[in-house]
């Protein structure tokens, strides 16, 4: 099944994915209206910038979202039973309406991909844009650093990327 991956050698850290994600999860689904919404639409992909000095990989920035784990730690931790792996499409579903903000999922997610929504006391995560063929973040990436492909396909690409970005 296809996954969202980030090709780190391409990522510029422009955060277009974050904006596209927030807009996709707004009521209006349109930027100028979305920015005025209350509560402000939350984005579920996070761009992290890394100081590359002394690093093994020349990694400057990377966009991280839910990896849709096969046996999600968050699903085992969720105290309301609101996180379930959907075996039909591989997406780990998160029932926002039931979230009580206990942060158990934040405590166990190995990717730090669960986002707390400040002010609302709930968590959200990537739902891989329900109803969309290609997730909004992937579509919005101006340098095609975010890709939505099979893991095998990415592994092939990844090793290439790995080699060109190693200094050793």
């Amino acid at each position: 099944m296809k996954e969202v991956f980030c090709l780190v050698e391409r990522c510029l850290g422009c955060r277009s994915c974050e904006i596209a994600c927030a807009v996709e999860h707004s009521r209006a689904k349109e930027l100028t209206a979305a920015v005025k919404e209350e509560p402000r639409p939350a984005y579920r992909v996070r761009v992290s910038c890394v100081d590359e000095r002394g690093r093994k990989i020349r990694l400057r920035s990377v966009a991280i979202q839910c990896r849709q784990c096969d046996e999600p730690a968050c699903a085992e931790a969720c105290i309301v039973g609101g996180i379930v792996k959907d075996e039909t499409d591989g997406v780990v579903r998160f029932d926002q309406a039931r979230c009580v903000g206990c942060w158990s999922c934040v405590m166990v997610c190995p990717y730090g991909a669960i986002v707390r929504v400040s002010g609302q006391g709930i968590a959200v995560k990537c739902d891989r844009c329900a109803g969309r063929e290609t997730p909004a973040c992937v579509e919005a990436c101006p340098v095609r650093a975010l890709v939505f492909i099979e893991p095998e396909e990415f592994a092939a690409l990844g090793h290439e990327a790995e080699n060109c970005h190693y200094r050793e």
Binding site: E3, F5, E52, S61, I79, C102, A113
Partner: protein, 438 residues
């Protein structure tokens, strides 16, 4: 090939449910029977304080839909206890006389609240908070109460205190230690939690204990308190919640060859010392990867994980349990907190401790390392990415190269990717195929 087996699960909370779901992922052929001392509904104990506070109704407690057992093709025998296990005869006997034969058995009997000897049991006004029945009993006692005392400074006690406060009661928390949550956090973090409690108007008494209760017409009217530098005093209390931790429900295995100490001893497959008999959840002792010794981690998340591992093995899917880690998260007014592993290491034991205090922001961070491996963590009010650190603990990653980054607010999985080299990159490329925490 899957063989048809008779599987019996004692308990229908986190461990039992985790096991049932894991079994049914691989085996739809075997018969599965669950025996529950409670009703058949699958509810979440962790939500009982929300139910007590009134922010969730009874339906909000449901952890799985009402048709859960039907979908899982399992039989549930509610409101009965298993009285004895006969390992040789592969049979359990229930208190209603029912006998169940098994090929594989899971003991997921959980735990029960400890009750100090000087607190009278079954007295009007004295409660514990463990089951939905307990929570309902407290709710029905709310009307006649104005003053509540919570005995014990653990997570259940704290959550109960906030719930009763929300109900408009005057709440006092009585803790024998010098601070609350002493089993899961250190004094630095506990100070922030106690500030939060007191700001809300909840009284916190530390270094004191309840030594007895005073009754009026058979009902609790006051509690006797000693310690804290002052002489014994009585304090009005119509509602006392005892939250002094739990004991494993292991009576069942007494007199059998199943080995037990504090709990039932399990191996890396969650099997007890007898073949075909498994244990998981609050009743089970497992290897604690942070403490590096056997321990009971009586926590929802651990029970779900252990139940899953037990279920997989019972269904013939050999799966190793890497071990448990004590882990807790909470969300109180003005305090978000996550902690896990060793948080108060013995000084001589070769631990390294990194602490960051930012009182103006209410931020407190503490990381405990040993041999350049993460062993424990406390985060207050900057809790994002805690799971990344937990994953590093579980995988025993050497963090010597990026120790200084770990408590930085900008620490994220990207830090690990950047520092982890080829191995970490391969993990990311494989993503869901291998992603696990502990």
């Amino acid at each position: 090939m899957v063989m048809k087996q008779r599987i019996v699960i004692i308990g229908n909370s986190a461990a039992g449910i985790g096991a049932l779901e894991a079994i049914r992922k691989h085996d739809r052929l075997s018969s599965v029977t669950l025996v529950s001392a409670e009703d058949e509904l699958v509810y979440s104990r962790c939500l009982l304080s929300h139910f007590l506070a009134g922010t969730l109704g009874e339906e909000g407690l449901l952890f799985r839909p009402a048709d859960f057992y039907r979908r899982m093709e399992a039989e549930i025998l509610p409101r009965r206890k298993v009285e004895s296990v006969d390992p040789a005869g592969q049979q359990v006997v229930c208190d209603d006389g029912a006998k169940l034969d098994f090929d594989k058995l899971l003991i997921a009997t959980g735990s029960s609240p400890k009750l100090p000897p000087h607190i009278p049991r079954k007295t009007a006004g004295v409660f514990v908070l463990r089951t939905v029945a307990d929570a309902m009993a407290i709710r029905s006692g709310l009307e006649r109460a104005r003053n509540a005392v919570v005995l014990g400074g653990g997570l259940v006690g704290m959550k109960a205190a906030f719930a009763l406060h929300k109900r408009g009661l005057r709440v006092t928390v009585v803790v024998r230690s010098s601070y609350v949550l002493s089993q899961m956090i250190d004094a630095g973090a506990a100070g922030l939690v106690m500030d939060s409690l007191r700001e809300e108007g909840i009284e916190v008494l530390t270094g004191v204990d309840v030594t007895g209760v005073e009754l009026q017409e058979g009902k609790v009217a006051a509690v006797k308190i000693t310690g804290g530098g002052s002489s014994a005093s009585a304090r009005p209390c119509e509602l006392l919640i005892v939250a002094k931790g739990v004991d494993a429900n292991k009576e069942l295995v007494r007199g059998t060859a199943i080995q037990h100490e504090t709990g039932i001893i399990t191996d890396a497959h969650m099997q007890t010392t007898l073949e075909n008999i498994y244990a998981a959840g609050d009743v089970a002792e497992t290897f604690d990867v942070a403490l590096e010794t056997r321990s009971i981690n009586a926590l929802w998340t651990c029970a779900m994980q252990q139940g899953k591992i037990a279920g997989l093995n019972m269904a013939g899917q050999a799966r190793q349990y890497d071990g448990s880690v004590g882990l807790n998260s909470l969300n109180f007014p003005s305090v978000d907190l996550i902690s896990f592993g060793v948080v108060q290491p013995a000084q001589e034991a070769g631990y390294e401790v990194l602490v960051q205090r930012r009182p103006a922001e209410g931020v407190y961070k503490k990381l405990v390392l040993k041999g350049d491996r993460i062993k424990g963590l406390v985060l207050v009010n900057r809790i994002d990415n805690a799971g990344v650190l937990l994953s590093l603990l579980g995988r025993k990653v050497n963090v010597a190269g990026f120790k200084d980054d770990l408590l930085n607010d900008r620490f994220s999985y990207a830090t690990v990717l950047g520092k982890g080299g080829r191995e970490e990159w391969r993990r990311y490329a494989q993503t869901s195929k291998t992603a696990r925490v502990t």
